[in-house]
């Protein structure tokens, strides 16, 4: 019996969130008294794969094939389910990323496994197997007992720390069995803004709302994010008005995020917005309206005009970051 963790790569590299996931998988494997196997699909160099053993993966499977070079949910799910069967895995862990959620759902069906999505903490194994997952769009958590023999879970990034646990880990090939029916979908083009930090994974996020008055004023928001090393986000009215792309919209109907720091500028804090950001560890709110409801959900608040406060924050952030180097 083992725990199998599927590790995503981006152009042959693992991101920090992957090491988080492996650390998480190792902690669960220890709870269950089993070992951790990692499965990578696609083109990843052996040095990069070997890094997974630093976080507890004692076996590292690599599935390579010309047809598996880019992420394709259907065939990837088949490979993961096959590996889980070959390893006799009772628990399959993956990231709750856009593709990870789709893959987890398909793997669960293939293995007749119960699925825990958007898990935010280690499972409680004191009485069965209970995971804590987000529910009601950030307004609550649900404790879900997975009762099946084999279980699949997807874990939200930033919900577990990267913890070093060096073990002897060997990289072994895993021969994927490909099925033509899994390739009815063709990926024609992938566009990734390589110079920007991806919002769902970001540890620091600078977000702005209608208080910025128009898209032409976003320069200072981007600059602040840049200096801090943060991703940019926005509120729903802003993306609805076309000031910023929908992909930046955080909130109940946008994406839910849980960064270490969320800085909200000119966002009043409607309940739908709060739902998507309430699991941020620290929230800073800048708003000229002292009555803005967001202040009640914040750790730090500054009442002031964004056009006066943000330039001060940028200068201070420059000095702060310079002082750290």
């Amino acid at each position: 019996m083992s725990v199998l963790v599927y590790v995503e790569n981006v152009e042959g590299r693992f991101k920090k969130s992957t090491f988080e996931l492996v650390s998480y998988g190792f902690a669960v494997a220890q709870k269950l008294g089993s070992s951790l196997t990692a499965l990578s699909i696609g083109e990843v160099g052996s040095d990069e794969l070997q890094k997974l053993s630093l976080y507890g993966a004692s076996k590292i499977l690599q599935a390579k094939n010309e047809k598996l070079k880019t992420v394709n949910v259907q065939p990837y799910a088949s490979v993961i389910a096959d590996a889980a069967k070959a390893e006799g895995a009772k628990l399959v862990v993956m990231s709750a990323s856009f593709s990870g959620k789709g893959i987890a759902a398909r793997v669960a069906v293939k293995l007749n496994a119960g699925l825990g999505e958007n898990v935010v903490d280690l499972p409680d194994t004191s009485n069965g197997f209970v995971v804590k997952k987000g529910a009601y769009s950030g307004k609550a958590f649900a404790m879900v007992q997975i009762t099946s023999d084999v279980k699949v879970i997807s874990v939200v990034s930033n919900s577990y720390k990267v913890i070093e646990n060096k073990v002897d880990g060997s990289v072994q090939p895993f021969e994927p069995q490909l099925n033509d029916n899994d390739f009815r979908l063709t990926v024609k083009e992938t566009i990734r803004a390589s110079d920007k930090i991806s919002l769902p994974d970001a540890e620091l996020v600078v977000s702005a709302g209608r208080g910025m008055k128009g898209p032409e004023n976003w320069g200072m928001i981007e600059e602040l994010a840049n200096v801090l090393g943060a991703a940019t986000a926005c509120s729903k009215p802003v993306s609805d008005a076309g000031w910023r792309p929908h992909s930046e919209h955080v909130g109940q109907t946008g994406i839910a995020i849980s960064p270490n720091l969320y800085v909200a500028i000119g966002i009043s804090g409607a309940i739908q917005h709060l739902a998507g950001v309430s699991s941020s560890k620290v929230i800073v709110v800048v708003n000229k309206d002292v009555e803005a409801p967001f202040f009640k959900a914040a750790d730090y608040g500054i009442v002031g005009d964004a056009f006066e406060v943000v330039p001060v924050l940028i200068e201070a952030a420059k000095k702060f970051r310079a002082g750290q180097n």
């Binding site: 990323s97 307004k139 958590f141 083009e189 566009i191 109907t253 608040g301 952030a317």
Partner: protein
């Protein structure tokens, strides 16, 4: 073109989420229920794609009789007909199994869901249905265009987007951008009363998971207000007090 649109019956986005004192159940008393916002996007796109006699849109919901007003609203917005599977939606697997069963009997070209429901947020149902049917799924699709029996879609990925194509049949989870939700007009509301709504009994599905309790996020102790002239001290303050930057 035959499109099946999956509709979840969820609490209004502004609703306060309250549980029973033992935290075991959601208190639905006094809560307004709506069509899941992402499902409204899916429904709007389905209606656009079949506009002008190019096909039919069937709305499906898994729920007891209390969800019928939500289904009628989907009919008022423009669905051709509707199916209600008469059962409480136990978990994602159960819901997907019901929809897959209906799909097997009816040969839909496209099955559209919302990217996720605003109550359980699992984002798993579209992919589960697809897996049960052995067809592709595009989760978090921001664009959907049809050419003959092929479709081009744009989907979200971390830090970017991806253009994909596939052929009928397939499943997609609609995200923002695919269409603007439609508001029912008076004619739609009147005609919804007489549009066919078929009630079917559920098929068996294994129970693989169950919710044992709920919890609310810990509320923040209290906000520390910083005077505007001290704004420049913010980062040092966060580093000292929270040690996160």
């Amino acid at each position: 073109m035959k499109i099946l649109v999956c509709i979840s019956h969820v609490p209004d986005t502004t609703a306060k989420i309250i549980f029973t004192p033992d935290n075991k159940e959601f208190v639905s008393q006094g809560v307004t229920f709506i069509i899941n916002p992402y499902d409204e996007i899916a429904l709007a796109r389905a209606i656009e794609l079949t506009d002008g006699g190019k096909g039919t849109v069937t709305a499906i919901n898994i729920g007891d009789i209390s969800t019928e007003p939500t289904i009628r609203k989907a009919l008022a917005i423009g669905a051709t007909d509707a199916i209600r599977v008469n059962a409480a939606p136990r978990d994602g697997y159960f819901v997907a199994a019901q929809i897959a069963q209906i799909a097997k009997q009816n040969n839909y070209d496209i099955i559209l869901c919302g990217r996720e429901s605003s109550d359980h947020n699992g984002a798993s149902v579209p992919s589960m249905i697809a897996e049960m049917l052995g067809v592709p799924a595009i989760s978090s699709a921001k664009k959907l265009d049809v050419e003959g029996t092929n479709a081009n879609l744009e989907r979200e990925i971390e830090g970017g987007k991806e253009m994909v194509s596939t052929s009928f049949p397939f499943v997609a989870g609609a995200s923002e951008g695919m269409a603007e939700p439609k508001i029912p007009n008076m004619r739609g509301i009147m005609s919804a009363r007489t549009k066919p709504l078929t009630v079917v009994e559920p098929v068996d599905a294994p129970e693989l998971s169950k919710i044992v309790s709920y919890d609310k996020p810990v509320s923040r102790s209290s906000v520390k207000m910083i005077a505007q002239e001290d704004a420049g001290k913010l980062w040092d303050m966060i580093r000292e007090e929270k040690k996160i930057i």
